[in-house]
């Protein structure tokens, strides 16, 4: 008899040590269904999929609680190969293809069809030759079934990105007995046309009775393609609903939810009429994984301007482009003067200090002392902390130490002394050193990227409070980039939400959860307006 569900996850709970990342999550998928799995970064989607695939990281950290059933039978996978044998496949976000191999070879990799030869009769199966005709035939069938006309003997190297995605899919459906396919952000790297085509392919696949779990952040795609959807938030199940019975606004609200309860909301989002501090026009930044595809915005003096959005959507790229760390195009005008984006140190010289999200990589010299780190950038760009020694100028250690002591007191950096190496400090204190270094330059505009990532609550509060204080007392303009929407809403005057490398909408902090959710899912302001009104 036919089972009702191809996959049942019941009451899944997973904790890493004390930290519960999934709590009582259930998910049921019927054959031939496209089931969207939604949630912000860190909501628990990946952990759930790791459990489903029996990834080692789950078992190495003490396994999970709850039941996984495939076609009604309870299973407990301990390795990804078990999951594959049970008919579960995955289409990866990063392509797992060998560029030098042909499409057929990639589709059949590890599962090649072979035919006996003279040598194999004597020495065993490993010397059989490849049955290329059969392999090509199978590959052709798989490609045809997803409506891809490309020839199967073409090499993968040099194919357009979209095609690689389809080769991956063809490989998965070529596997015998495949019941369930997981698509992890499949449209993230595709063009609009390719994405539409992919959604059609997904539909074709499900008509064969194969179920699909569709992980994405683009809600419009969910509305177009999925039958049901499940939303996770902070490791908890928010709800499961048929798509027909819900709408964009509701889904968006479910995703963003009450994540700001305890922080409160800063301002009313009115744009002040102060002079413009920085004006960005059509900025493109070529930062791998955080590509920016044309953003424009103005920030006024004395404002705290937030930039939010999901990871990998380009919000971090904006800051790195302005500060000249990654090659950028477009025009940036700071305090009335145009910035030459291709020149290193240009931003610093125009009074723009940048606190990077990559503290240990870009932000600090880990082998040097706190004092050295704090003064270094000002020393190189503004030639301070140097004193004349005969014909040359040398580092003035006394001045450096004094300044460091002031900063340590001001920012409450927990350390033995200014001579301690930065590498031995905790994340929060390292962040304070980064901030101290940026402030030493006496910037007119401070760009902080992910200022609270990976640091403890105490340090987080101190840093956020200090940013507010700086604005109020010194009139400093701040651009704050963060993945934590709650943080942005508690601090900023206006918040730009970035998706797919573009600013979708600039919202006041008191906008509704639905508005934020929609913006983060790349639903533009006009569309969102329609949805919210209806």
């Amino acid at each position: 008899m036919h089972e009702k569900y191809v996959l049942q996850l019941e009451g899944i709970r997973k904790a890493y040590g004390e930290n519960v990342v999934l709590d009582d999550v259930s998910l049921r998928v019927k054959p031939g269904e496209i089931h969207a799995l939604l949630g912000e970064n860190g909501a628990g989607k990946s952990t759930l999929m790791n459990i489903l695939f029996g990834m080692r990281v789950i078992h190495d950290t003490g396994g999970y609680d709850g039941v996984v059933k495939i076609s009604g039978e309870e299973v407990k996978f301990t390795a990804p190969t078990d999951a594959l044998a049970a008919g579960i496949g995955m289409v990866h976000q990063e392509f797992m293809l060998i560029p030098g191999f042909t499409i057929t070879e990639n589709i059949k990799l590890g599962r090649e069809d072979t035919a006996p030869t003279v040598a194999s009769r004597i020495f065993g199966k490993s010397l059989e030759r490849l049955d290329r005709e059969k392999m090509d035939g199978d590959a052709r069938r798989s490609l045809d079934s997803i409506g891809m006309g490309i020839e199967e003997h073409v090499r993968v190297a040099g194919l357009p990105v979209g095609y690689m995605q389809f080769v991956e899919i063809a490989r998965e459906i070529d596997k015998l007995g495949i019941k369930l396919l997981v698509f992890d952000e499949p449209t993230a790297v595709l063009t609009e046309g390719e994405a539409t085509q992919l959604l059609e392919v997904m539909n074709t696949i499900t008509q064969k009775g194969i179920a699909i779990i569709f992980i994405t952040h683009r809600l419009s795609e969910v509305m177009d393609a999925a039958h049901n959807m499940t939303v996770l938030r902070d490791g908890e199940l928010v709800g499961t609903k048929p798509i027909a019975e819900t709408n964009l606004a509701e889904i968006a609200e479910m995703m963003v939810g009450r994540s700001i309860e305890n922080l409160g909301i800063a301002a009313d989002g009115e744009e002040s009429d102060a002079p413009i501090a920085i004006s960005v026009r059509d900025l493109h930044v070529d930062m791998p994984g955080e590509r920016v595809r044309g953003v424009s915005f103005d920030v006024r003096e004395g404002e705290i301007f937030g930039i939010g959005g999901m990871a990998g959507q380009g919000k971090v790229g904006i800051a790195n482009g302005i500060s000249g760390l990654f090659s950028a195009e477009g025009s940036v005008t700071a305090f009335g003067q145009p910035l030459n984006l291709s020149r290193l140190g240009e931003a610093l010289e125009h009074g723009i200090a940048f606190v990077s999200e990559d503290r240990r990589g870009v932000g600090l010299l880990l082998d040097e002392s706190i004092a050295y780190n704090i003064m270094f950038r000002v020393m190189t760009t503004q030639r301070e902390f140097l004193s004349r020694f005969g014909p040359i100028k040398l580092l003035n250690r006394r001045k450096m130490q004094q300044h460091a002591d002031d900063m340590i007191k001001l920012l409450d950096i927990r350390c033995r002394s200014g001579r301690q190496k930065v590498g031995t400090l905790s994340g929060g204190n390292q962040q304070k050193v980064c901030l101290a270094s940026a402030l030493t330059a006496k910037p007119k505009l401070l760009i902080v990227s992910e200022p609270t990532r990976g640091i403890d609550i105490g340090a987080k509060e101190l840093i956020l409070n200090y940013l507010t204080k700086l604005r109020e007392e010194e009139g400093l303009t701040v651009i704050m980039i963060s993945s934590e929407l709650g943080e942005l809403r508690s601090l900023c005057d206006r918040i730009a939400i970035v998706a797919d490398g573009k600013i979708v909408n600039i919202l006041p902090p008191n906008a509704t959860d639905a508005e934020y959710g929609l913006a983060m899912s790349a639903v533009s302001a006009e569309e969102a307006g329609k949805v919210v009104q209806s």
Partner: protein
């Protein structure tokens, strides 16, 4: 309470020893122990310790500037500069030209003999620098194109340059007979005696002896002065920028520093110091060694600085002082000691030298963390 501390004592002791080993570095510790052991043995065998010590000091100054050449290379991020031989051959050309000019009577106007040798040495250094600096810039630009494998490339650059200059030595058009290979009448000799030229230019002035121990303050002053200037450079804005470019290129870039330029700067200074270093080496040694003599010098100086506690990513002037001293100390004492202890086995000190050199380089390479 007292019981608890008593219990904890051994573990804290072990911890302290471990920390000491960590701070000081295992290879340094082993070599230092070996050095002391050799000294004690030399004493037991009733050998002339003061005389040895004088020799150690001399070799310290001889090799010092060549070892110092490692510091700017490592600080700028190209790693230990095995290709310091690029600078060395530049210095050798300077020396050859200076000798040739001397025998043509160009420097006859300097009549004071001590001053005469110094002028000759300085001219050799000046010509050496004039050659080494552009070569260093080119070499640095090459190293910028092979990021990640600078060490392997620098080894082969060193080898290639030494052999390339062999052609030059064999065809060098000089007139001074002291330089020319007598057998063929053209091309340079393998070894040129510097007695009539700049031999001892910095060794001889102020030289004095305490018993059997000869001290050459001139040589050491030159070495220490070079170290002091290098130290000052590391405290200057440019020096700090160069060091940041080496230790964290992304950080440097975010500070508005052109990392590529800094690497070229570090390579050039290193190469230039190679040119200066070989003149100091030759004047103390008394002979100018051409052809394949400089081939493995890169390895010796790399081993010395690593022995002093430098790593392939971090080097200080102090590492140079300590490393050059230990390395040469061991060799100076091991030679006569081995002859006394094992009179029938030839070549023990040479073996020891190679074992230490390659062992240390190997140890340092095994410590290189993957990735950048």
């Amino acid at each position: 309470m007292s019981q608890m501390t008593a219990k904890n004592e051994p573990s804290t002791f072990v911890k302290n020893v471990k920390r000491l080993v960590n701070d000081f570095g295992l290879p340094r510790l082993i070599i230092l122990t070996l050095f002391i052991l050799l000294f004690v043995m030399a004493g037991i065998y009733d050998m002339n310790l003061p005389s040895f010590f004088g020799d150690v000091l001399r070799r310290w100054g001889m090799w010092g500037i060549l070892v110092l050449a490692m510091v700017p290379g490592i600080q700028s991020g190209i790693g230990p500069n095995f290709g310091v031989t690029v600078g060395i051959v530049g210095g050798l050309v300077g020396a050859v030209l200076s000798i040739n000019m001397n025998h043509a009577g160009v420097f006859d106007f300097v009549t004071n003999p001590a001053l005469h040798t110094i002028v000759l040495a300085l001219v050799a250094i000046a010509i050496g620098l004039a050659l080494a600096i552009p070569m260093g810039i080119l070499y640095g630009m090459l190293l910028n194109r092979v990021k990640g494998s600078e060490m392997a490339v620098s080894v082969y650059v060193g080898f290639s340059v030494v052999n390339l200059f062999n052609i030059l030595w064999a065809t060098f058009p000089v007139t001074a007979s002291i330089l020319i290979l007598p057998a063929t009448g053209r091309g340079l000799r393998q070894m040129v005696n510097l007695r009539d030229d700049f031999g001892g230019a910095f060794d001889e002035p102020l030289r004095f002896a305490i018993g059997d121990m000869t001290i050459r303050p001139g040589l050491l002053i030159v070495f220490f002065l070079a170290c002091f200037l290098m130290y000052l450079f590391t405290r200057s804005r440019l020096g700090m920028m160069m060091s940041a470019a080496g230790s964290n290129p992304s950080y440097a870039r975010a500070s508005g520093i052109n990392v590529e330029k800094m690497r070229v700067l570090g390579t050039t200074i290193s190469t230039a110091l190679g040119a200066v270093g070989i003149i100091i080496y030759a004047q103390s040694f008394g002979f100018l060694q051409l052809y394949l003599a400089p081939l493995m010098m890169g390895f010796t100086v790399v081993a010395s600085v690593l022995l002093g506690g430098a790593t392939v990513r971090r080097a200080r002037v102090f590492d140079v002082l300590l490393g050059a001293f230990l390395f040469n100390g061991i060799l100076t004492i091991a030679l006569p000691l081995a002859n006394t202890m094992l009179p029938d086995v030839p070549g023990v000190p040479e073996m020891l030298r190679l074992i230490i050199t390659y062992g240390i380089v190997l140890y340092a390479l095994s410590k290189v963390k993957g990735g950048r």
